[in-house]
Symmetry: C2
Amino acid sequence: MSTSLSQCLGIAYPIISGGMVWASGWRLAVAVSEAGGLGLLGSGSMTPQVLAHHLEQALGSTSAPVGINVPLMHEHAAENIQVALDHGIKVFFTSAGSPRQHTERLKARGAFVAHVVPSVKLALKVEAAGCDAVVAEGTEAGGHNGFEEITSLVLWPAVASAVRIPVIAAGGIADGRGMAAAMALGASAVQVGTRFALTKESSAHENFKAAALLAEDTAVKLYLRRFMPTRAIVNDYLGRVMAAEASGATTAQLLELLGRGRAKRGIFEGDVVEGELEIGQVAGHIDDIPTAAQVVERMMCGYRETVARLPV
Amino acid sequence: MSTSLSQCLGIAYPIISGGMVWASGWRLAVAVSEAGGLGLLGSGSMTPQVLAHHLEQALGSTSAPVGINVPLMHEHAAENIQVALDHGIKVFFTSAGSPRQHTERLKARGAFVAHVVPSVKLALKVEAAGCDAVVAEGTEAGGHNGFEEITSLVLWPAVASAVRIPVIAAGGIADGRGMAAAMALGASAVQVGTRFALTKESSAHENFKAAALLAEDTAVKLYLRRFMPTRAIVNDYLGRVMAAEASGATTAQLLELLGRGRAKRGIFEGDVVEGELEIGQVAGHIDDIPTAAQVVERMMCGYRETVARLPV
């Protein structure tokens, strides 16, 4: 199955694994790319040295294209982009910042650039900045989120109608049904986070994966809505922060409650009580830890079955 | 186009207009049913006398099936159900209460009963109560909403996997692309609110319709999240309530700010400054006021085009 976007990226299937902090290391990216999708490294939790290691491992393990996600607010964003360029990476997914910041420079180096947005307004800015594609991510997505809280179902078709560049749908897709919905709503590819975070190759801690399997859909909440919207599993830590928010805590008080390194503690070190367990709402309906290749295969199978049974 | 559910309901297209307070009077219900869908009366804003009038007008205007939505928390719910039964209504969509409350009695009268839910857990209760179908409504929907805040994209396939009765998808569907997404995600029909609230036959005030056309997607917010989640357009009234919520107001303080009759004031009387303007998030991408028949026709056309262009 191919779309103009999958042809442009040189991949067999229009399935992209999100570049998730602490989960998207080289093993996951390679597994997805080897399975015919596009694997992204999550540089948002990496120093330039760590990223270089992951890039070397990835490029030594597959000749398929591998990309990188760069949250632009990350302290090492500019350095990480340079490290990736130096390693010959040609696919960049930027997020959490202005698409004008690096796109021109990356395009000059012949790279493919996509930027992640939570609204039509920002999608138009991505197009104007000269990006090759826009990732439209609904509020059901895990981790850091837009303030807009627009759901994937509402966001995707609106973005697809508003821009001419290809739309990559993200937020809430975990199987072939979700992929078919995304394609119906105007997407040219899907970016899948949560489902790939819960695979054998994901570098997330086993405790984190177990907690995500156990979590019900109602246990995955968007918190810090007013200053840094983030979706994660409710645990002791999150419960305290949400209670503080409900009683009108100030940003300073919330920052003190947060402390630093919560995502690493939760996702990478496996402290499911006091760490931040970033995951998408769809985790509530995921109940196994397959390989990334199995995810790609199931998704394509499910997609084809879904399209075949649509009533006409 | 037919599904097992549309056959069961005796309608040409699996499109149901939501029974919306102050918007879903007999004109809208009749227009939708005459166009081949299923029109629902919104009894949640009607006294038994007003409902009887709407039923008489509707039944005198079409021989196509017309149904009724009954929010069970409404003070006249039981009486309204009796009035509808007395008028020979055979299609009931209940919501905001237990599906066990009236289903057995309605089924004994030969009626079709569907119940609206925001979660898988409640969908299982609807099936256990003996309902004919379950309406799975995502958090992007307008008006009163579940506490769960599960988006349509995540909710629909989970409900479809969990129950054997047909699933009617609701929340965020305004065109054929959304309908195709719903069918891909396991629905047998769609319930459409916002798109039909913004039609010529909707009994909502012209000021309300104009405000909804102007609203951007980011202007449609879920508020009262902790005691009565409701989605509406941000205006002076809503801004005050949201500011109070953000600063930790108690339920009693919020109730005082709300007062009574805000939805009537906003939707039916057209006070767009001080009324509550209940509408779905998808209103942000709607920009015209067609007839209900045009909505049905566009939706079916768009659905067929969407399915035909899905890559395989």
